[in-house]
């Protein structure tokens, strides 16, 4: 396939279409507006449906309906809009419906600003909506990975009947890079046992999260969800290591932060400091075991995030007290600089 220069938000759209997504419901919000615009232009041409909903709340519930009806379906938004979708994400999780939700994070809390940020890690990874549930959370670090992970997101969603969140940020969504569009995975998921299509020649199907009777019905549903989450934790962790094996100091970051960390590792190596990078690609499930192995014997870990310290909690839980963990964060849509990361790590070496 040819290399094309594509904007992150548009690459998600094209990759979703490659993955067989024919239904998109959304509501405008910066910095992800190119994605609904792209879908409104492309979906009618491939026999799909684009619908601009009256709100993010309505959009996620349209997603729920379309998913219950058996379709591959997506919505996208940015932080304040994703907060509104949390109700629907909880319902989708309880009813075990597959869906892909894109969050191009911006500065918060509240209306915040429109610069890229990573302040929604807790919301995406730890819950956000009510009840005991998880979404698979993918954290791409550039346009190629946005496209590749979008295709994968639809497969994961269907395989596990789960919500998959693509957690990008405003910079990655707005950024253009040369990419090779991914091929369809070719995987087919049979939804005939549960989807709603009209009870032709079978008993009616019901899609619901509510379990009132018998008394332990909800406990059983939750236990099944937890079993599923344990399987996903074992099977689906993704991460990337670079120059980590011989490193004395390990940087840990996701998304755009990880790319700034990689530049920092190069600068540190040039200055004679042996630094390396560990980049979680799945934020849930978090690659704890792999991080603990990568961190073994290191002098220090520095976690870099565009927030006040969120993923750092999972890093600490992964390595416990075996390696000291430091944190460098930037707030309100400010990006960390290579200089400050290098300076921080050099201070450990001194």
């Amino acid at each position: 396939m040819a290399v094309t220069l594509m904007k992150g938000n548009e690459a998600i759209g094209e990759a979703a279409i490659i993955a067989g997504c024919r239904h998109y419901f959304g509501y405008p919000i910066t910095p992800q507006n190119e994605l609904p615009a792209y879908m409104s232009m492309r979906l009618p041409k491939v026999g799909g449906t684009f619908l601009q909903a009256e709100s993010e709340v309505a959009a996620i519930n349209m997603v729920l309906g379309a998913s219950a009806a058996g379709a591959r379906v997506m919505t996208s938004s940015s932080s304040p809009g994703v907060s509104l979708k949390m109700e629907g994400i909880s319902y989708l999780s309880g009813a075990e419906l597959p869906a892909v939700v894109v969050n191009m994070m911006r500065g918060g809390p509240g209306l915040g600003n429109i610069a890229g940020a990573q302040g929604d890690y807790f919301q995406a990874v730890k819950g956000g909506g009510h009840g005991d549930y998880h979404c698979i959370v993918l954290a791409p670090n550039g346009v190629q990975e946005l496209a590749d992970l979008t295709v994968k997101a639809f497969d994961l969603a269907d395989q596990y009947r789960i919500v998959v969140i693509i957690l990008g940020d405003g910079f990655i969504g707005q950024m253009s890079e040369p990419i090779t569009l991914p091929a369809p995975s070719g995987r087919v998921f049979d939804k005939s046992a549960w989807m709603l299509s009209g009870a032709t020649g079978r008993d009616p199907h019901v899609i619901a999260s509510m379990r009132l009777a018998p008394d332990d019905a909800l406990a059983h549903l939750n236990a099944r969800l937890q079993d599923k989450y344990r399987v996903i934790e074992k099977a689906e962790c993704m991460w990337e290591k670079s120059q980590a094996d011989d490193a004395e100091f390990l940087l840990v970051g996701f998304g755009l932060s990880a790319r700034i960390c990689r530049s920092s590792v190069s600068a540190l190596r040039k200055a004679g400091v042996r630094a390396g990078l560990f980049r979680p690609i799945t934020l849930w499930p978090f690659p704890s075991g792999e991080l603990a192995r990568a961190a073994a014997g290191k002098k220090k870990i520095l976690v870099v995030e565009m927030n006040a310290g969120q993923m750092v909690e999972d890093v600490r839980l992964s390595v416990l007290s075996s390696v000291p963990v430091d944190f460098l964060g930037t707030l309100g849509g400010v990006t960390p600089s290579v200089d400050e990361i290098v300076e921080r790590v050099r201070s450990y070496a001194r």
Binding site: L5, P31, I114, F171, M175, E177, L256, R259
Partner: protein, 178 residues
């Protein structure tokens, strides 16, 4: 080679497009590229800027906090961004719209009468192309002038393609006078 480029001006001067054209041309010549625009409310009639990286190697951080070359198309951009150019870097400024020379002395500066040269090419709207031509002359590693002219057809939106003759002349005009 590695160049971190920064383009700044006001909305409507074709700042984002200039960055995109550089990417397409450099990409065609086998370079790694990345492009991050400013976006949202600040673009509606305010200032516009974009960060572009062109590199022989894979690009780690796409951010350009200290550009090796910076193009400023209006006075607020000069005042705001001359300070970020790295020591020894290049600052191209649009003398047609800026009545104040850069105050930095530790960088290379070049005044370009972009609007006048663009007018002579056929339209003041091609001032961004004049600046781009000048950049290509001073930083030949980024991409060749031919490559940049070659991508105008795909880079410029359909409704503005009739300006490409003017764009070509403006690019050449800027290149020759830098």
């Amino acid at each position: 080679m590695y160049e971190g480029l920064f383009f700044a001006g006001f909305g409507g001067q074709g700042i984002i497009l200039a960055g995109k054209i550089v990417c397409l041309a450099a990409m065609g010549e086998g370079k790694h590229v990345s492009h991050i625009p400013s976006y949202g409310a600040e673009m509606r009639g305010g200032t516009a800027n974009c960060s572009v990286v062109v590199s022989d190697d894979e690009i780690a951080s796409p951010l350009v906090p200290r550009p090796s070359a910076c193009i400023v198309m209006n006075k607020p951009s000069l005042l705001k961004f001359q300070s970020i150019v790295q020591v020894g870097g290049l600052l191209l400024w649009n003398e047609s719209l800026i009545d104040l020379a850069p105050s930095r002395t530790d960088i290379e500066t070049l005044a370009v009468k972009a609007n006048e040269i663009a007018e002579a090419a056929g339209s003041y709207k091609a001032a961004n192309m004049v600046m781009l031509g000048a950049l290509l002359k001073r930083k030949p590693d980024i991409a060749s002038l031919e490559a940049v002219i070659g991508v105008l057809g795909v880079a410029v939106s359909v409704r503005h393609r009739e300006l490409n003759d003017i764009n070509r002349k403006a690019l050449t005009g800027g290149y020759e006078r830098a």
